[in-house]
Amino acid sequence: MALILAGLSHHTAPIDVREKVAISSHETPRVLEELAQITRARELALLSTCNRTEVYVVEGDAPAAPGIWAHLSRRLGGSADAASYGYVRRDREAAAHLYRVASGLDSMILGEAQIHGQVRDAWEASRSTSRAILNRLFQSSLLVASRIRTETAVGRGAASVSSAAVQLAKKIFGSLSGRRAMVLGAGDMADIALECLVSEGVRTAVVANRTHERAVSLVERHGGEALRYEECWPRLADVDVLLCSTAAPHPIVERAQVEPAMRQRGDRPLCILDIALPRDVAADVGTLDNVFLYDLDDLRSVVANNIERRRQELPSAESVIAEEVELYWQWLAGLAAVPVLRTFRSRMDRVREDELAHALKKLAHLPADDRAAVDLFSRALMNKFLHEPSVRLRAASANGHGLAIVDALRYLFGLEPSDSEAPSDDAPNVESR
C-alpha cells in the first residue's frame, strides 16, 4: 500500500493529448467510480484542469498505476499509451507534487492563483472516494499554497498583459475605483483588458470603435457609452485611462488630439495603454507632460520582470514545501500505528472481559451497583495501563522508529501480523518506505 500519483501535465504532454484525457466536472464521479474498480484503491482523488490530469491514490493490495494508465489510454483512443506522456510520483514526492501544484509552482504561469481554487474543487468532487489520507493531503496542500503566497513573492506582480495594464494604471492613480476609462477598439484584447480594469473599479466612460455595433456589445458587458471615433476626442479630457486596441494599420491617436485634452486636464495625469499591434498611439504622445504612455512591449516587460522575480522566490517556496511534506509524513506515519494499537487494545479488552466475568461469578453475592463499580474499575485500570504505551507508540511511529516497537508489541502480546494489517480506512503502512 502506498500514496501515489499518476498523471500528465503541460510539462510532459502536448495540448492534443491533454485535451483528450481532460475530465470534465460532470464526468468526475463516473470516472472515479471506474478507477476505483480498476485500481482497487483504498482512496482516490482526481485533479483535471486544462494543463493537467492527475489521479491521487492510496493503493490497496494491487499497484494502481497500470489501471490508471489503461483508463487514460482508452480516453486517448487508438493504440496510444498515456503512460508515455505521464509520470508517477510516490509517497513524499507525490505529496510534494500536489503542494507544488496547489501553490502554482508547477503551473504554466508560475505562481498563478487560479489553480488553488481548482485543487479545492477537485478535492470537493472527489469526496466520495477520498478518506483520511487524501483529505488531509488536499487540505494541507491548500494551506501550503496560502502559506507560500503569504511568505514568498511567488504570486506577486502581474503575470499577464491585462493585469500588467492594471498594475501600471494603479502605479499612477493608486486605487482605480471611480476612475474613467476610454476604450478605442472593441476586439478580444480590449475586452479582456477592460474586464480587468472594471474589476478594479474603473468606470467605463466611452467605448469607440469603427464598427459601432461591436462598441455597443462591449458597452453592454462593461457599461459606459458607445461612440464613433470622431465623436470621442472631445471626451478625452474627462478620462484617466485610455485603452487602445484597434486593428488600424497606422496610429490613430496623435499628439494633436491629446495636447488640447491635456491642457483642459490641468495637472491631472493620463495613462495611455496601447495594446494594439501595430501601435495605435504615435510615439511622440508619450513626451507630453503628464501623459504616461505604455505599449505592448512595456506591458510584456512588466510581466517578464514579475515572472523572473517569482522565479527567484522558488527556493523559499521549496523550503516551505519540504517542511510541510515532512509534517504531513509525520502525521501519516503516526497513522501506521493505529491498526496495531487497535488490535492490542481489543486483545487486552477481551482479556479484561474474560477475567472480569470470571471474578464476577465468584462475587455473585454483590449488589448490582458494586458489580458495576468493579467493571468500571477494570476499565479504568486498563486505560491507565495502556495510555502511556499508546502515546509512545504513536510518537515513535511519527519519528520513523515505530516498526521495531510494533514488532516487539506483536511478539510480547502474541498479536498475529494479519490482525494488525487488516484493511483500514486510515492506516497506511508507511514505515517500510
Binding site: 493608486g174 490641468g266 520582470n305
Partner: protein, 268 residues
C-alpha cells in the same frame, strides 16, 4: 545617558530605513509592522533623552543648537510615524528616517546644552512658538521627501523603467496626497508658530534679524506652496518640484545664516 539614547535612536532610525529598503534587495513587500515598531522604539528612546534633558536643565529642549536639532529630529520622526500608520506605507521612511538620524547626530555633535537666551525667556508663549515652528518645518521636510519620491518615480514611469522603484514606491497619487497634506499642515503650524514669535517680539521688544529673515522666508515658501495647492489648484508634478526647490532654498538659507551668524550655540 542623553548621548547614549541619541546614539540608540540614530541606530533605530537607520534600522527602520534599512527595513523599509528590504524590497529593493529581495522581491518581497516591506515589513510595514517591523518598520513602524522600530521607528516607534527610536522615537520612544529619543523622547526619553529629551525628557532627561528637561529634568536636568529644567526647561524644554527648544533653545540651543543641539536641543533644537534634537527636537526637530524627533518631530520629523513622529510626523513620519503618523504618515506610516495612516497610509500603511513605509517607503517615505527611506528619506525621512535618515534625515531624523542625521539631525539627531548633528544635535549630539553640537552638544545638548541650552542656548544662552534660555534664561529669562521661558514661558508657554516662547515654548509654543518654537514647538509649532519646528512642527511646521518637520511637515515641510515630509512634503519635500514625498516630493522627491514623486519626481523619482514619475521619471521612472515616464521613461518606462520597471525596476525596484516601480515595484516598491507608492503610487504617484499617494505621494501627491502626502505632499498636499504635509504642505497644508506645515503652513498651519508655521503660521501659528511665527505669529506667536512676532507677537512675542513686539511684546518684549526683542528680536533677531537673521532669525526673523529665515523664519519669514520659510513661512513664505510654505505659504506660496499652500496657496498654489489650495487656491490655484497646483497638483502633483509642479507642486513636487516647487516643494523641493523651496525646501532646498530654506535649508541653504539656514546654512548660510549659520555661517554668518555671530551667535554660536543656538539654532539661529
Amino acid at each position: 545617558m542623553i548621548a547614549l539614547a541619541h546614539a540608540v535612536a540614530i541606530v533605530l532610525y537607520l534600522a527602520a530605513a534599512g527595513l523599509a529598503a528590504i524590497p529593493f534587495a529581495r522581491p518581497i513587500r516591506a515589513p510595514v509592522r517591523s518598520v513602524v515598531w522600530v521607528l516607534a522604539a527610536g522615537i520612544a528612546i529619543h523622547a526619553a533623552a529629551l525628557v532627561q534633558f528637561v529634568r536636568i536643565h529644567d526647561e524644554p529642549p527648544l533653545t540651543g543648537l543641539g536641543p533644537a536639532l534634537s527636537f526637530a529630529a524627533l518631530l520629523v520622526a513622529i510626523t513620519l510615524l503618523v504618515v506610516e500608520v495612516l497610509a500603511r506605507e513605509v517607503s517615505l521612511t527611506l528619506f525621512a528616517a535618515p534625515l531624523a538620524a542625521l539631525l539627531t547626530g548633528f544635535a549630539s555633535l553640537a552638544g545638548m546644552v541650552p542656548g544662552p537666551e534660555a534664561n529669562g525667556m521661558r514661558g508657554v508663549w516662547l515654548t509654543s512658538h518654537i514647538a509649532l515652528s519646528f512642527l511646521g518645518i518637520a511637515a515641510f521636510a515630509t512634503a519635500a521627501a514625498a516630493g522627491v519620491m514623486y519626481l523619482v518615480e514619475r521619471r521612472e514611469l515616464k521613461s518606462r523603467r520597471f525596476g525596484a522603484i516601480f515595484r516598491f514606491f507608492p503610487p504617484l497619487e499617494t505621494l501627491d496626497r502626502v505632499n498636499h497634506v504635509a504642505v497644508v499642515a506645515g503652513w498651519l503650524a508655521l503660521t501659528v508658530g511665527i505669529g506667536l514669535a512676532s507677537s512675542y517680539a513686539l511684546e518684549y521688544r526683542t528680536g533677531h534679524a537673521i532669525k526673523m529673515v529665515w523664519a519669514y522666508s520659510a513661512w513664505l515658501a510654505v505659504t506660496s506652496l499652500t496657496i498654489g495647492r489650495v487656491v490655484r489648484g497646483w497638483r502633483a508634478h509642479l507642486s513636487a518640484m516647487l516643494t523641493n526647490v523651496l525646501f532646498a532654498g530654506v535649508v541653504v538659507l539656514y546654512i548660510a545664516f549659520r555661517v554668518i551668524d555671530p551667535l554660536k550655540g543656538r539654532f539661529l
